[in-house]
């Protein structure tokens, strides 16, 4: 059973959002998503300073099994990316909610947070994925 920490919010497309401070959010992919994809081999991140819109493809996680787009749950400006993933893509597998984070955004529309799922809702949704 994959885990989903309760202090995070989740998008249906399997990204998580962590509040760093009011208006600043860290984004990664869920344990469920990394488990489905398997061993990561390349991670393509957005650029620092890039403006992204919610639901836009802004990163790619490529595993032994498939390449998968990462959609930003929030609109805003990318202010930090996880450079460690360039040489250590497996961090996403080993610690999806910690060292395997992808990027941090300065959000431009805080109302977008309301559309995200709580952990228990996300777990229910991802359990339906498993057949």
């Amino acid at each position: 059973m994959s885990n989903a920490p309760s202090h995070l919010k989740y998008a249906k497309s399997h990204e998580w959002v962590e509040t760093v401070s009011e208006g600043t959010y860290r984004i990664g992919i869920s344990d469920h998503a990394q488990d489905l994809l398997g061993d990561m081999v390349f991670i393509e991140l957005p650029e620092v300073g890039q403006t992204i819109s919610a639901q836009d493809e802004c990163a790619v996680v490529e595993s032994v099994k498939a390449a998968s787009d990462v959609y930003s749950p929030l609109s805003g400006e990318v202010i930090e990316i996880n450079e460690a993933l360039v040489d250590g893509p497996d961090l996403v597998n080993r610690d999806p909610y910690g060292d395997g984070w992808l990027f941090t955004v300065k959000a431009s529309d805080l109302s977008e947070l309301d559309g995200l799922l709580a952990a228990d809702e996300y777990i229910k949704l991802s359990a339906d994925d498993d057949h």
């Binding site: 032994v64 099994k65 497996d90």
Partner: protein
């Protein structure tokens, strides 16, 4: 719900991610496919390949039958336990399946064919066996464990009886021996040394657990695919199929053309191609950029799609993507491969990519 091997519960106990493979519920990996790959290259791993099809062939005319059925020549097999890799072709020269055939004696051979082609293979073999009075017996009460890696043989030796061990230690590559109920073959699909050990089904769990206890790592089908790809070995239905001749799948070496009077199925269709320059060939590709080569990606030369990746993956040993691709015969140097809307340059090379655990290319 698919068919299950005798080791199915063992896979679940070890945390396997189970997937459907040709109607069988098989382990894809037990946590990390890449870690498993490294275990086989550097130590020893074991694969449950009991889903494969085992066929015993018996009769006075069995050699004559196999001379006709197989594109490689079983006359190369003259000593007990000797194995031969070969294709079985259709009349058009396409590949019905690739397989390993073993010789025991003049009335008894064994073949190991693919799981994904079980039904058509059995039908094909039986159809042609009738006219040679060859009895075709499928073995269904056995399990096959492939134990592969630089430490594989010595680990297996630890678990064998003295008689079995002596016989196994004496085996040259591509030879097998039956001893006290075990059929021990020095073959594999990883490019590493090791054995494929056929055991009675009711002893499979015990043997698997004992191997695990002495440090042989369970390996899933995911790593099996990257290991064989690095080793430059074809996969049926990817590199070749009923529409592809072995000459366009890098398997010319497995078609025994001499003696010229040996009539085998597919010979007539292949004859014009054999000495002519083929139109297409199978090559290796290495991608130096970040990205992963995958089956069915298009290969571009001078702005034109000229071929296709047949199998591709990330090579853990090289740290970059590798592939097989079928391209026009004159292609060499560099090509572009189309992936995710981009065209990335790839080097054309001659497989294998990895030999005895060492990368053959940078």
């Amino acid at each position: 719900m698919g068919a299950k091997t005798a080791l199915y519960q063992e896979h679940l106990n070890l945390g396997a991610k189970v997937v459907d493979f040709a109607g069988w519920d098989m382990p894809l990996h037990y946590g990390s496919q890449v870690e498993e790959h490294y275990k086989v290259r550097g130590d020893a791993g074991m694969f449950d390949v009991s889903h494969m099809t085992f066929v015993d062939l018996k009769g006075e005319r069995v050699r004559e039958f196999l001379r006709y059925l197989l594109a490689n020549n079983v006359d190369r097999l003259t000593t007990y336990g000797r194995a031969l890799y070969t294709c079985m072709l259709n009349e058009q020269g396409g590949v019905v399946d690739d397989l390993i055939v073993y010789y025991f004696d003049e009335t008894y051979f064994r073949m190991v064919v693919n799981a994904g082609t079980h039904d058509k293979d059995m039908a094909w073999i039986k159809r042609h066996a009738t006219s040679f009075d060859v009895v075709v017996e499928e073995l269904t009460d056995v399990a096959l464990l492939a134990v592969q890696g630089p430490e594989a043989r010595s680990r297996v030796h630890n678990l064998l009886s003295e008689t079995q061990r002596e016989k196994a230690e004496a085996l040259a590559p591509f030879n097998a021996v039956e001893s006290e109920g075990f059929f021990i073959s020095r073959t594999g699909y990883t490019g590493e040394d090791g054995y494929e050990v056929m055991v009675p089904e009711d002893q499979a769990v015990d043997f698997w657990r004992r191997l695990h206890k002495i440090g042989v790592h369970p390996i899933g089908l995911g790593a099996r695919d990257t290991l064989r790809l690095e080793a430059g070995m074809d996969l049926y239905s990817a590199e070749m199929d009923e529409e592809t001749s072995p000459l366009e799948a890098g398997l010319k070496w497995t078609v025994a053309w001499e003696p010229q009077d040996r009539n085998f199925i597919g010979r007539e269709a292949l004859e014009p191609q054999y000495n002519a320059t083929p139109t297409r060939k199978l090559v290796g590709l290495i991608l130096d950029d970040r990205g992963v080569l995958r089956g069915h990606q298009r290969v571009i030369v001078d702005g034109e799609a000229v071929g296709e990746v047949t199998s591709g993956s990330f090579s853990p040993t090289l740290g970059k993507a590798i592939a097989f691709a079928r391209v026009p015969y004159d292609v060499s140097g560099r090509v572009l491969v189309e992936m995710r809307g981009k065209q990335l340059p790839a080097r054309v090379v001659k497989p294998p990519f990895v030999r005895h655990g060492k990368a053959c290319f940078e």
